[in-house]
Symmetry: none
Subunit: 107 residues, 2 copies
DNA sequence: CAATTATGTAACACATATGTTACGTTCAAG
DNA sequence: CTTGAACGTAACATATGTGTTACATAATTG
């Protein structure tokens, strides 16, 4: 879950919230913040490399869009372990054990 | 969402996963990792201060337990923004509908 | 072609995170 | 009451993140 690290920063959280409503180019995103534009450009790179957003080139603009699968992954992770804690496994245990074993390879 | 910062570290992610299965004391948790015990103690503090876990004193042990509400908050954050892109993506619609019925069982 | 616009990257400064070892505190057992 | 075990905290070193300014690149416009 490298995604959590990408969402740890409040600026990036706001960017995600913005992109959830509509696609936006980098300049339009940076205009919403008080920090410099290169700083936003870097935040966008972090989000891009973690798979939370992706960009397409439109002329001289870079339009960013949210990658829903990334947020979906977050949702599933939280939901899974919360459900596990609550003792409502409902056959998800096998899938969980499978996920755990693959994670052990990269600690 | 300060919780994302708490979950950003892979060690802390693993701790959460461990605590999802059963409550554990600090020593038992630390035994699973190669880093020093004080390092784990600090990770536990981060998780505690962000509300992800809480501890009770049992004799000379500190037993940690997961606070499901924290993970629920993460779930809600992600699912909130899912609502925006839900109608815009076709490929995921089916998968989401399938999950929706499972989710209703765990309120 | 030259100037402008939009954007990313480089280099650097500074803040925050994460690890270690040494030590303090609390509780249980003898 | 002394010893030891379990745990947290302090102090410090170093890695990682985040911000800035200066510059590079690519497309658009005059």
């Amino acid at each position: 879950m490298e995604v959590f690290a990408a969402l740890a920063d409040p600026t990036r959280q706001r960017i995600v919230e913005m992109l959830a409503m509509a696609d936006r180019d980098a300049g339009s995103i940076a205009a919403e913040f008080s920090v410099s534009r290169p700083a936003i450009s870097r935040h966008l790179r972090v989000l891009r490399e973690s798979g939370v957003v992706e960009s397409r080139t439109a002329g001289q603009r870079r339009v960013y869009r949210l990658v829903p699968e990334a947020l979906y992954e977050v949702e599933q992770w939280a939901s899974r372990y919360r459900a596990f804690w609550q003792g409502r496994l409902d056959g998800l245990e096998e899938h969980l054990a499978k996920t755990r074993s693959t994670r052990e390879e990269t600690p």
